[in-house]
Symmetry: C2
Subunit: 158 residues, 2 copies
DNA sequence: GTAAGATCTCAAGCGCACTTGAAGTCAAGG
DNA sequence: CCTTGACTTCAAGTGCGCTTGAGATCTTAC
């Protein structure tokens, strides 16, 4: 037993799981990948410091957004886990992370725009649509592998 | 090489791959899943209508955004592939799709906000941060599904 | 006609992100 | 002390989204 609000209060893996919604097996997996860390009891059981809640949450949210765990590792790899991270530790990491998120968001925004401006108006299905005429755009840019966005953007160019 | 502006021009799987950046094997896989469709030559080879370029691109972009292919199927399942889809077909589908994208984008925006307002200032490591009074900020944004933030907020209780 | 290269199907394999199961250990209550 | 439930490791299995390989066929250019 210990006082519930001590600074050094540690959580079991079960408690961490309950509080973050992440399965214990997933927490072990994240630890194997070096994304989170724990201390061990004399009996070899994991105990988590409070600040690990955040790291777990970040990993969990990233995963739900479809961002590979390796990217999370890259972004937060410099943030120490053995001690409470400093302000600067978090700032550096958060700047990297924000760039990742921004790219994702922009990609989604482009898609939304595409839907509104083109699919939404029926362009995708109507050969006659003036916005479409991709032949001009394609011929102008020449052959070669086109990126996904390029293909979607083709429609706007014409 | 050939007249590029025929209405009935069909692409081989290789050409579709080059133009969308999607591997032929992936195109076959998408077809197995019913996400895209092709017609066959007398010799059983796939040929794609131009409008499939769009479908392929949508699938491909969605995948890159981490959106499950099943969701893409759900969103665009009603859009016919054997014939040119009608305006209404696309509109219905694009409304569903936009909702999916919007949810994703909002989730990312919330995370970005979290990073800017909290991690960026060091809150994630400092319990005392004033910005982290979640009740004000989050109550203001209204109800709705906020699982992601709920998790991030938990630390702030103590 | 023939050769080269593109495409076909089917089966198996891969990487990621886990989950499940087996067999054993730890922690807390009575 | 003893039980119960949470925890441990390790190996194998799962689902997704493909890729790879084998072996055959199609298409095209000469």
């Amino acid at each position: 037993m210990n006082a519930a609000h001590e600074p050094e209060e540690l959580m079991t893996i079960g408690e961490m799981g309950r509080r973050t919604g992440v399965a214990a097996s997933a927490l072990r997996y994240y630890e194997d990948l070096g994304l989170i860390a724990s201390v061990r009891t004399a009996g070899n059981q994991r105990r988590y410091a409070r600040h690990m809640l955040r790291r777990v949450s970040l990993v969990s949210v990233a995963k739900r957004l479809g961002i590979p765990l390796a990217d999370v590792g890259d972004a937060f790899g410099d943030v120490p886990m053995d001690r409470t991270p400093s302000h600067d530790d978090w700032q550096r990491a958060s700047r990297r992370w924000r760039r990742t998120l921004e790219e994702r968001r922009r990609a989604i925004e482009r898609l939304e725009h595409e839907l509104t401006g083109c699919i939404g108006c029926g362009c995708l299905s109507l050969k006659a649509c003036a916005l479409l005429n991709p032949d001009d755009a394609l011929a102008a840019t020449g052959a070669g592998p086109r990126r996904l966005e390029d293909v979607l953007e083709e429609d706007d160019e014409g």
